[in-house]
């Protein structure tokens, strides 16, 4: 880096900054000089629209012969000043630049810009959601004129309540037309659903999509809005920013593990307990930068849903913990070691460890992971992306392969960041049987036959030699391998093929190289590291144990075929947030706390162990799962119950090599991150960017620990036999669905698609099915009535049937079925 450094002078002090760095950023990062901005955002291209960052700029005068800087008699360098003020945000640092940010001319310019902005900005700060964390307010206080020469009664009167879609409201009066929202959607997301309408004084932000503001990232525009023009329907008037307590947490919905901040306040309607008022992003440049998906932002209502299980249920009756624990102890003792557990990925690492300890101490060996759609976490642990990986570093010369995953629906933050990699010049390949959103940001989109992802990747050298060559030649290569359209065996084969590919080309064991998987839920990798695997779940289904502990795995809501084998289990002990169908079957159902009510850690898809903290008041008698489980252990004389999640982690870091050194204090370390967006200045809107909860710590891959990963033969799953009139039915994931952790967010319900099946146009024509017709999809033992959608989303001979849109489950893995018009 040092050979790229240049010297610039800001307010008579010389600084060494990287060449080409934006001057606003350079002044802030290197000189701690806050040049005020409205339209500029370090994550976006500068436009120089707001004129707030005007500074005096000049260049050092040099002797044309020697190149030496010329000086006056006192030895001060001579500067050739530009005749007019320049916008700092549109300048990049080059050698010999000189800036002055505190002269009278600059002060006057700022005053004038603010005075002019305020000619039509309403003075309704008292009711504005941004009031208190508003860049316009802050900069007016810091740089404003104090008095206006304009007539207050002349202000524009515009509509103050314009819904942009179901989630975001626009106050036209407050908008200062900086265009941050428009540019965010356009540049960073690639969903250009916002636009400027009209010109001059009548210019307004409009949405041009149907439904309005149709994107999974809309909430971020409210954060970057420098005024209160954009507000979320969720938070609207929920509290004033200074009344909120920011609690660091982790998005509990997907494998990205986005760092979030839960803004909580005591609430009268919630019995005086602390309640989550809004969810804001928390800066972690390795994980989610400054952005979160709308599911993370608006999907928090399940934590305080009235439907939550609030008391332990023993034999169908409400009971208490003492009874439940002694009953469970009796059941486990009577099981004679025939005990197994299935855990979902909503369980924290500590919960999983407590469950593992309980099961193994009582003679059980089988620890299953749920759902049984994705596997290969062991390969991610072996040849996953190296320590120090940052998807934002991927650019020209690098390559990304996304295979068998609809990333926008599965892990939207990864899709956002990989879209950025594509923009920076990375070679992005999206391989799938069908068209997915990520295709729009791909350099190549090879297609394989439905259900044959592993076959394709295993034989990529023949199938797509050019793609294979480009991927192998890349400087850095990241493979994101999902499991869409695969069985569990197929997922294993695909992951192994991906690992083999990486091993062959040498793209593993270092930063920005390796394997990632969009495992469902927030802690898919944690399941692996604590020893829970989906293959064992398949084994449990084959040979049901006497006692089965089902922890946060909604087996019956996910899998239509599970009841058959669950019925054969003698005793089920359920731990869940909600009284689901498994809890109904269970002898004992224990209420456990959601991520918001207690602290713990999740391991994200990039193997980063991250802490979340206690935010919300508890629901009923629910306990953290680790606490409930270790109390059972204590009751059975298997060690004293741990007092805190931190203590469980200490024990875990001693026993499990993967978690070595993962003490809570280590995990809560933070560092200064670029862009330096959080802190006292608040130019960029919102108070919750600042990361005080820790950046987490990545578990190194075994390849990085010196183990040479071995290639293994891929055992390709048998090809599905599709008879005449039959179709391959591909289960797909929708981000907004009716899973129990999202259903209570009624605000987003208008955005949840009504149940549908995607049919290929040629097939639809043959079967006389039109877009919108009600059809029946018949699968072995299951049939669902849904609407047909003929929109080019399904390859010929295949049906795409999204999961979790209907009340009854549809198959989790690829199957063969029929379709008929009703």
């Amino acid at each position: 880096m040092s050979d790229n450094m240049v010297k610039i002078i800001i307010d008579d002090v010389e600084y060494e900054v990287p060449a080409g760095m934006n001057v606003v950023d350079a002044a802030k990062w290197h000189a701690s000089n806050d040049i005020p901005v409205f339209c500029y955002h370090p994550k976006m291209e500068p436009v120089g629209m707001c004129r707030m960052c005007l500074v005096e700029m000049g260049t050092l005068q040099r002797n044309p012969e020697t190149g030496a800087v010329m000086t006056d008699e006192d030895g001060n360098p001579l500067v050739r000043w530009f005749p007019k003020l320049q916008t700092a945000c549109t300048q990049v640092a080059t050698d010999g630049m000189v800036f002055r940010t505190n002269t009278q001319a600059v002060v006057d310019a700022r005053e004038n810009v603010l005075e002019f902005l305020l000619t039509s900005h309403p003075l309704d700060c008292p009711i504005c959601d941004k009031g208190g964390e508003c860049p316009l307010q802050n900069l007016t206080m810091a740089h404003g004129p104090g008095e206006s020469r304009m007539n207050f009664s002349d202000k524009m009167k515009l509509d103050k309540h314009v819904p942009l879609g179901d989630l975001i409201f626009l106050d036209e009066e407050r908008c200062i037309q900086c265009g941050r929202c428009v540019r965010f959607q356009d540049e960073l997301v690639g969903d250009d659903v916002l636009a400027f309408h009209e010109r001059g004084r009548t210019l307004q932000i409009i949405t041009n999509s149907d439904p309005g503001f149709d994107t999974y990232f809309s909430g971020n525009t409210t954060d970057i809005c420098p005024v209160g023009a954009l507000t979320t329907a969720d938070f609207r008037f929920g509290a004033r920013p200074w009344e909120l307590t920011e609690v660091p947490s982790i998005d509990p919905h997907d494998a990205a593990g986005s760092n979030i901040s839960l803004s909580v306040r005591l609430d009268r309607d919630f019995g005086g307990r602390a309640m989550i008022k809004r969810v804001m992003p928390r800066q972690n440049e390795y994980v989610n930068e400054l952005w979160i998906s709308d599911k993370a932002r608006f999907g928090h209502h399940f934590t305080r849903s009235e439907d939550r299980l609030q008391k332990p249920v023993v034999d169908g009756k409400d009971s208490d913990w003492a009874t439940a624990i002694s009953t469970i102890a009796g059941l486990l003792e009577g099981a004679d070691g025939d005990i197994a557990a299935i855990a979902g990925s909503g369980m924290s690492n500590e919960d999983l460890f407590a469950l593992r300890s309980l099961v193994t101490a009582n003679g059980g060996k089988r620890l299953g992971a749920w759902p049984t759609t994705h596997t290969g976490a062991d390969l991610v642990a072996a040849v996953g992306v190296g320590v120090g990986t940052n998807l934002s570093d991927l650019g020209a010369g690098d390559a990304v392969l996304i295979v068998a995953s609809d990333l926008e629906e599965e892990v939207p933050i990864w899709r956002l960041r990989l879209k950025g990699a594509h923009d920076r010049g990375a070679y992005v390949v999206v391989a799938n049987a069908r068209k997915t959103r990520m295709d729009d940001f791909a350099s190549a989109t090879p297609r394989y036959q439905a259900g044959k992802a592993a076959h394709w990747l295993d034989g990529i050298d023949k199938a797509d030699p050019e793609v294979a060559k480009a991927l192998k030649a890349a400087q850095n290569l990241v493979i994101v391998a999902g499991a869409e359209g695969l069985t569990l065996d197929g997922s294993r084969a695909l992951m192994q093929s991906a690992a083999n590919f990486l091993i062959d080309s040498g793209h593993y064991g270092k930063a920005n190289n390796g394997l990632m998987s969009p495992l469902p839920g927030p802690n898919g990798m944690g399941l692996h590291y604590v020893g829970f695997t989906p293959e064992v779940t398949a084994d449990i289904a084959q040979n049901p144990p006497k006692v089965l502990i089902v922890a946060q795995a909604e087996i019956l809501s996910d899998d239509p075929y599970a009841r058959a084998w669950l019925d054969k289990v003698e005793t089920i002990i359920s731990l869940n947030l909600f009284p689901d169908a498994v809890a109904d079957m269970a002898a004992i159902a224990l209420p456990i706390q959601s991520f918001a009510e207690r602290d713990g850690t999740f391991t994200n898809g990039e193997r980063r162990v991250q802490r979340f903290y206690t935010a919300q008041g508890p629901m009923g008698d629910a306990l953290p799962a680790w606490q409930a489980l270790s109390r059972i252990s204590e009751h059975m004389g298997q060690g004293k119950a741990k007092a805190s999640a931190a203590a469980v982690m200490v024990m875990m870091s001693n026993e499990l090599p993967a978690f070595e050194g993962m003490r809570y204090r280590e995990l809560s370390r933070t560092e200064r991150q670029f862009p330096d967006i959080s802190g006292d200045d608040m130019y960029y809107g919102g108070t919750a960017y600042q990361n005080k909860g820790g950046l987490g710590k990545v578990i190194p891959t075994t390849a990085e620990q010196g183990e040479t990963p071995a290639r293994a033969d891929v055992s390709l799953p048998p090809v599905l036999e599709v008879g005449k009139g039959q179709f391959v039915v591909l289960p797909a994931t929708r981000l907004y669905n009716l899973e129990s952790t999202f259903r209570p967010s009624t605000l987003v319900h208008p955005r949840i698609m009504s149940p549908f099946v995607e049919v290929n146009a040629a097939d639809a024509a043959r079967l006389d099915i039109n877009n919108g017709d009600v059809v029946e999809v018949k699968l072995p033992d299951v049939s669902v009535r849904v609407r047909a959608s003929v929109n080019g989303g399904a390859p010929e001979g295949a049906l795409v049937l999204p999961r979790h849109l209907t009340d009854d489950p549809t198959p989790m893995t690829v199957a063969v079925g029929e379709i008929a018009k009703v």
């Binding site: 309403p122 009664s153 008037f237 509290a239």
Partner: protein, 164 residues
């Protein structure tokens, strides 16, 4: 001599009118600036002046005020603009009657009146709710929530004279 001087003072004061009042039968008149119990004011048409902005609560040095806001519309209008106070509570045990809330209020919704007889025997009674604090609906006004003409009350802050 000294004793005569002393008694002279005593007799002089004996002749003066007594200033002791027989409270509570007799009540001393208040100065206009006296700060007693808070009132939440209404506009003449009955709409609440309070817009639930929480600035009183922010200004309160004793942390005595608790405000929770909610959204308003023309169908169910409590106050002008989009925001109104869903919950408004003052803990009179905490309140030090400094009047900062009055100063902070952008709509002059909260005013400290002259009422000062606020004793209670249960701590919980010290919390005065919105129902207890708000003025009665003035004559000719409507109780809230009101159904109002669309767009008639869409500004939260009343038009101010030019503050210059």
């Amino acid at each position: 001599m000294n004793i005569i001087k002393g008694f002279a003072t005593t007799f002089k004061h004996l002749r003066e009118e007594s200033i002791t009042l027989q409270y509570p039968e007799q009540v001393r008149p208040f100065q206009e600036r006296f700060k007693g119990r808070h009132h939440l004011r209404r506009y003449d048409n009955g709409l609440e002046k309070c817009i639930g902005c929480s600035l009183c609560s922010a200004a309160c040095p004793a942390d005595a005020i608790w405000v929770e806001a909610a959204e308003n519309n023309d169908e169910q209008r409590f106050s002008p603009g989009e925001r109104y106070a869903k919950t408004y509570e003052i803990n009179m045990l905490r309140c030090i009657f400094c009047g900062y809330c009055e100063d902070a209020c952008p709509t002059q919704a909260i005013e400290l009146g002259h009422e000062h007889q606020m004793s209670f025997t249960d701590r919980r009674d010290s919390i005065f709710t919105k129902e207890m604090l708000i003025d009665a609906v003035p004559e000719g006004g409507q109780p809230t929530p009101q159904k109002v003409e669309a767009g008639a009350f869409d500004r939260a802050i009343p038009d101010m004279p030019d503050p210059k």
